[in-house]
Amino acid sequence: MSFAQRHLLGIEPLAPQEITTILDLADQYVALNRRDVKHGDVLAGLTQINMFFEASTRTQASFELAGKRLGADVMNMSMQASSIKKGETLIDTAMTLNAMHPDLLVVRHPHSGAVDLLAQKVNCAVLNAGDGRHEHPTQALLDALTIRRAKGRLHRLNIAICGDIAHSRVARSNILLLGKMENRIRLIGPPTLMPAGIGDFGVEVHEDMRAGLQDVDVVMMLRLQKERMDGGFIPSEREYYHRFGLDAEKLAHAKPDAIVMHPGPMNRGVEIDGTLADDINRSVIQEQVEMGVAVRMAAMDLLARNLRAARSTAGVMV
């Protein structure tokens, strides 16, 4: 077992063994979560603050539940309406919060790099719950766990990621993680929704969805933000659905046992056909949500172990 990180800011700094460590521990937490009594105490006495500068229901709930199941004292702070609007700089906010001695800080922010910035200024472990278009590491980890449980392995798979790659932190974290674990990644979407320099990512890029889905093991759909549909990036919702929406006919090009994933919330009829999303034989979307709690428990558990170890070597009382 190895996990040497102080924070979980992204997939980029993680070594493949560290990813495996998180996933192995998360597997144990899946078992715990399925029991009647879902309570652990590895985070007992620790304070977890969820700071969301951007609206989120699912991710915030998942982190809250993960912390509570492991015995942490969890506080949620909705930062959209708070001091940041009064002109306080992000670093000032971080310093204020740091003075309250949190142990785990879960942060989501609309700007790339904001969580890194916060992490430089606080003494606790920081978990990135999504920063701008940069990274969303726990999403990639829960996707990885879902794939590993469905496919029995997390290497040498053909995985297609479809949709708005350019604006998606989920896509970035997944490309990094699945690349580190040595899978073949295909990106599918219109060129206006592909990030610049995509040719250097070590991935295949497809503009034809049927060709892109040929023989893949996993189809990951991404959410298309409403504000991208106004003719700025794609001509219209219906043209997008026609070319890049996942339906049974397009999915038929994938392997017969290919699974369908989506980070949610879904736009049925825009990026994915509603019936397909609900097809329990193909869609693992509900499993993704379940794995989310387990992966977040594992990540916080590992970070808390490192935090305690660092504090005891520094001679500071835990």
């Binding site: 980029e12 910035l117 320099g197």
Partner: protein, 426 residues
């Protein structure tokens, strides 16, 4: 006026392209004699250079002093002290203050404050259009009478080509120099990094380097139309260079500068989202940096500027996208430029051609030369002396330097303006 003799110095002559050991005599604010052997006149103040370099003082086009409007970020006093400490003997100031320097009255305020407070020469630039809004041209004639040396809207690109073509035509009739910011405003809207794999991985909104070429191509077409005198403030990409070369070959009255940050840093410096590396245009890929260094060596790019842009802590302690752009540079310009010398990219005369001679020439100033009769604006420096930069030791009120903690070489021992020592114990 005292007479000062430097002996035991290395004289850097950017015109001749030479570095020669010798002496230099200042009398009445001018260079009176220079060469291997200069007789010591009676009563002269003799400075033993101990082998240090003596070069024409730096003429820095595009310095932002935050007066009027934001004196807490930088005043003429603090900027002047920083300039003197950095070997900058002439600051050519930007009009992008609050309010903009777009009328003879505001320009007179700048001139008065500069004369009161700054120990180095200050030559103000004025806005090309009122309020830098790109709608109506400023009173170019009156502003020239009041002392404006060039006209620029700085990073506000004049979007309307009709407005710009008229301003260029009018400026041409008066012989005024117009300084443009080559950047397509649509494509670069909202961007804070250069597009490519790196910016995509970091999730930063980015602009293609092509936006610079598009901006330059547009301005060159307007120069062909109007015949105006034009200087591009910062050319930073390989793609823009062929257009610049063609325009020069075609005989257009065009020159170009680049910033010290684009010469010595690249996009990978943004890795930790350090906002002190956020500049306009954004830092480029290493290939672009190398192309720009080469263009500077070949003389295709004429000048190097600090693009000194003070920002306070409040405006930088924010997520990268939200943070203000710009970096201070007056005090780090010379040691950073010397990195190019130490790396073997440029000789010392080539550096001072771009730092001193060319900017002076472009503005029609007598400075920048190592010649008898030229103004004694000089910098004495040890090009090898190593140090680690501490941003809090900077004289600028704002400490937003990307070189904080950097190992640099090159210390200024003395700066002279019009023959008088404005920095150093000499």
């Amino acid at each position: 006026m005292t007479t000062t003799l430097f002996h035991n110095v290395r004289l850097i002559d950017p015109e001749a392209g030479t570095v020669t050991p010798g002496s230099l005599l200042i009398r009445d604010g001018q260079i009176a004699a220079l060469g291997a052997e200069v007789a010591i006149p009676e009563g002269a103040h003799v400075i033993d250079g101990r082998g240090a370099c003596l070069a024409p003082g730096i003429v820095d086009i595009g310095v932002k002093v935050c007066e009027p409007g934001e004196r807490h970020k930088e005043s003429f006093r603090s900027a002047g002290l920083a300039a003197a400490a950095g070997g900058v003997t002439t600051m050519v100031t930007r009009p992008d203050t609050t309010p903009a320097i777009d009328s003879p009255e505001t320009l007179e305020f700048v001139t008065r404050r500069a004369n009161e407070a700054a120990p180095v020469r200050v030559l103000p630039m004025a806005a090309l259009t009122k309020g830098r809004e790109g709608r109506e041209m400023t009173e170019i004639g009156f502003l020239m009478d009041a002392g404006a040396v060039a006209f620029t809207d700085c990073d506000h690109v004049v979007r309307n080509t009709k407005v710009l073509s008229r301003a260029l035509t009018y400026a041409r009739s008066l012989g005024a120099l117009v300084i443009g910011h080559p950047q397509d405003p649509g494509l670069s809207d909202g961007a804070c990094a250069t597009s490519g794999k790196f910016a995509s991985l970091r999730g930063l909104p980015a602009v293609s380097p092509m936006a610079e070429r598009m901006g330059l191509d547009r301005d060159i077409a307007l120069l062909e139309m109007t015949g105006a005198r034009y200087h591009a403030d910062q050319v930073t990409t390989a793609r823009a260079l062929p257009a610049l070369m063609r325009a020069k070959r075609n005989g257009l009255d065009i020159t170009a500068g680049t910033s010290i940050h684009h010469l010595t840093l690249n996009e990978l410096d943004l890795a930790d989202y350090r906002t002190f590396f956020k500049v306009k245009p954004p830092l480029r890929a290493e290939d672009d940096r190398l192309a720009v260094v080469e263009a500077l060596r070949d003389g295709l790019i004429d000048t190097i500027s600090s693009m000194h842009t003070p920002q306070d802590e409040e405006s930088k302690r924010l997520p990268f996208e939200e943070a203000a752009s710009g970096a201070v540079g007056l005090e780090t310009l010379l040691p950073a430029a010397l990195r190019l010398h130490h790396a073997g990219d440029l000789t010392l005369p080539q550096l001072f051609r771009a730092l001193s001679l060319n900017p002076a020439k472009r503005l029609g100033l007598p400075q920048g030369r190592m010649a008898v009769g030229a103004p004694a604006d000089l910098v004495l420096f040890d090009p090898d002396a190593p140090f680690v930069l501490d941003r809090f030791a900077l004289r600028s009120k704002s400490k937003n330097t990307p070189f904080d903690g950097a190992r640099l070489q090159g210390k200024v021992r003395g700066t002279f303006v019009n023959g008088a020592c404005v920095f150093g114990e000499l």
